[in-house]
């Protein structure tokens, strides 16, 4: 197991390095940063001065390695727009996003997994139909529309929940539901499918033949095997939530990292965008790594990988 973890860790580091290089170079393909920094009315001389000031005239590999060295020390440079260190900007915005992402994925897992299990225990029952309806609706509703409907219902009509901001836990209820509901359908259908497959397998019959109770059969013998693909999916969705909750953050005016990404891209704030891409990719890498470790713990056959 330890050997497996170290191997995966090494692999994850290599992926992280590659991703950092690609994200750094990609941004240089999207136009001359010096020209856009200088503004529309700048002369060639101004652009050249800015190019020299920010070091854009150096070879790209040199720029990359100095950026990476700084990044490893937690120094992502200064935001062009906010005139603040990118690191402190990120730290502040990530708090909101991480809290929202954790709430969202927890909400999704806590609703989707039990529903998927119930649906698999009684396929084609009322519970199964209800779960199918929920997941089809969840897949079809755009987040921004669902978010607005919730605001109309709970903030404007009923006045139970605040519509925007991050001041109290109440502010996080609706964003959590919207974000979690987006991830729920896939998790639920995968849980249901996995459980159905596992429940018809021979070792479940063996467990019943031993005299195991239905609860024991479901949770000890079936769920552990059925949940493995769900873990991988949830990891990817978690990464997605931390990086891609731009829509939800905008609707509920939560100033998180997703919102920051949108602001920085539209303002050509190069250091911030680079740092965000790096951080978002790291989330994916960390969560996939954790999912691999969790799956190896669940299924001994994976430990040799």
């Amino acid at each position: 197991m330890l050997k497996f973890i170290l191997k995966r860790l090494g692999l994850a580091l290599l992926v992280a390095l590659t991703v950092s290089f690609i994200s750094f170079t990609l941004l240089f393909l999207s136009g001359d940063p010096a020209a856009s920094l200088a503004g529309e009315s700048a002369t060639d001389q101004d652009v050249a001065a800015i190019r020299e000031l920010y070091g854009f005239d150096r070879p790209m590999l040199v720029q990359y390695s100095s950026w990476l060295m700084d990044a490893l020390r937690g120094d992502f440079g200064e935001s062009y727009y906010f005139k603040l260190p990118v690191a402190s900007l990120l730290a502040e915005r990530l708090q909101v996003t991480m809290l929202l992402g954790l709430c969202g994925i927890s909400f999704a897992l806590l609703t989707a997994v039990p529903l998927g299990v119930l649906a698999a225990i009684r396929p084609n029952s009322i519970i199964d139909r209800f779960a199918l309806f929920l997941s089809v609706a969840g897949q079809a509703l755009p987040s921004f529309w669902f978010g607005l409907i919730l605001i109309v219902a709970f903030s404007i009509k009923l006045q139970w929940l605040p519509a925007s901001g991050t001041a109290t836990w109440k502010h996080f209820i609706m964003p959590t539901v919207v974000l979690g509901y987006y991830a729920m359908p896939a998790i639920m259908r995968l849980t249901r499918g996995g459980m159905l497959e596992v429940l018809s397998s021979d070792y479940i019959r063996t467990a019943r033949a031993k005299g195991a109770s239905e609860g024991r059969v479901m949770f000890k013998h079936a769920l552990r095997n059925a949940i493995i693909p769900v873990v991988s999916l949830a990891a990817v969705q978690m990464g997605f939530m931390l990086g891609g909750s731009i829509v939800v953050e905008s609707i509920f005016a939560l100033h998180g990292a997703g919102y920051l990404a949108w602001e920085s891209i539209s303002r050509n704030d190069l250091p911030t965008v680079q740092a965000l891409i790096l951080v978002f990719s790291m989330f994916y890498i960390v969560f996939t790594f954790l999912a691999d470790v969790l799956n190896a713990w669940l299924d001994p056959r994976m430990r040799t990988g």
Binding site: D202, R208, K210, G211, N225, R301
Partner: protein
């Protein structure tokens, strides 16, 4: 060996609802089994032998309808018993060994965990006792270095080893009845004989009753005290093993016997037989003799209800219109009439 049967089945019927009608998978079969006795249930795929064993264990799906005039295990009515009562029997007093050792063990738990679970979940053994028993039984089923096998996972074991583990698991609680559903079919030929011998030895040692389900008459001849031959959900012939092999009376039983070489009976160089045709569909109304479409002696009368005859002396009975069975020489399969 007492005379009181531990298992009595009378008139067992299993119906499976399907999209096109009810599948009458098992129709009115019956047998009994005394402690220490071995019953061989023989038949081809789809004859209902596995369904019968799953019905005894109470492991059939909710949608499948099981009826019987009697289905009793040691005084417990298996049909009316509560789910809880059945759970107490399963694994503890009646255990089952399945056909597929490769997939019958849970890939996520160690051999030891799964063996011990069979004992601890019945609530009367400590973990230490269960562990000791598991190691003992692993040694008994011929697994070397049993202690280290306990911490291994199923995927680290070969098919033969896994079937030995399955046998050990079935024995954990010292059951009175063991049902082995084609326990050797999925194994290499060289391993098959070992596993069979092991089963028989353990059965003798523990004095269990055993139902051995197989399509292999050779296996039955070696280990069973009595035989039940199933065809298309019916019991076509039943009796003591010796009587069945000496005087097979139903054309189907004789057909099966012609398919295998028998020491002392089959001459070297003669071709082994086959039974032409396929098993009929059992969906919808089924009446008359199910074997008539493949039988050399079929007459229009076979479409009516078929009486059960009992051979004189021994408890040997068969289901055919001919009260004596037909002369063996007439069994030539070519004469099957398409009109029947």
């Amino acid at each position: 060996m007492t005379d009181k049967p531990i298992l009595t089945v009378e008139n067992l019927t299993i119906d499976i609802p399907t999209g096109t009608g009810t599948l009458h998978a098992v129709r009115g079969i019956g047998f009994d089994l005394k402690p220490g006795e071995t019953l061989g249930i023989v038949g081809e795929s789809g004859s209902g032998k596995s369904l019968t064993s799953l019905a005894l264990m109470g492991l059939l799906g909710r949608s499948i309808k099981t009826r019987a005039t009697t289905m009793e295990f040691d005084g417990v009515d298996l049909l009316s018993a509560s789910a809880r009562a059945m759970r107490k029997l399963r694994g503890a007093r009646m255990a089952m060994i399945f056909q597929e050792p490769m997939t019958s063990l849970n890939p996520a738990y160690t051999i030891g965990d799964q063996l011990m679970e069979a004992m601890t979940l019945h609530g009367n053994a400590s973990k230490a006792d269960a562990r000791k028993r598991a190691i003992d039984l692993l040694q008994k089923v011929g697994i070397t270095s049993a202690e280290s096998r306990m911490t291994q996972y199923p995927h680290q074991l070969s098919g033969g080893l896994r079937q030995r583990v399955m046998i050990a698991m079935a024995l954990m609680c010292g059951p009175d009845l063991i049902i082995a559903d084609e326990p050797t079919t999925a194994l290499d030929v060289t391993i098959q004989a070992q596993i069979l011998r092991l089963l028989v030895d353990l059965q003798k040692e523990f004095g269990m009753a055993m139902i051995l389900i197989t399509h292999d008459l050779g296996v039955v001849a070696r280990v069973a005290d009595k035989v039940a031959v199933m065809y298309a959900g019916e019991l076509v012939e039943t009796g003591p093993t010796q009587a069945i092999f000496d005087a097979p009376s139903h054309p189907y039983t004789r057909g099966l016997l012609r398919c295998i070489p028998l020491p002392g009976k089959t001459e070297r160089g003669t071709e082994l037989g086959t039974i032409p045709g396929i098993v009929p569909s059992l969906v919808g109304d089924v009446s008359g003799c199910a074997f008539r479409t493949r039988c050399a002696h079929a007459t229009p009368a076979c479409r009516d209800a078929i009486p059960v005859h009992t051979a004189p002396g021994v408890r040997h009975s068969f289901r055919c219109i001919s009260p004596t069975g037909f002369a063996e020489a007439d069994d030539t399969p070519q004469s099957v009439e398409a009109s029947v």
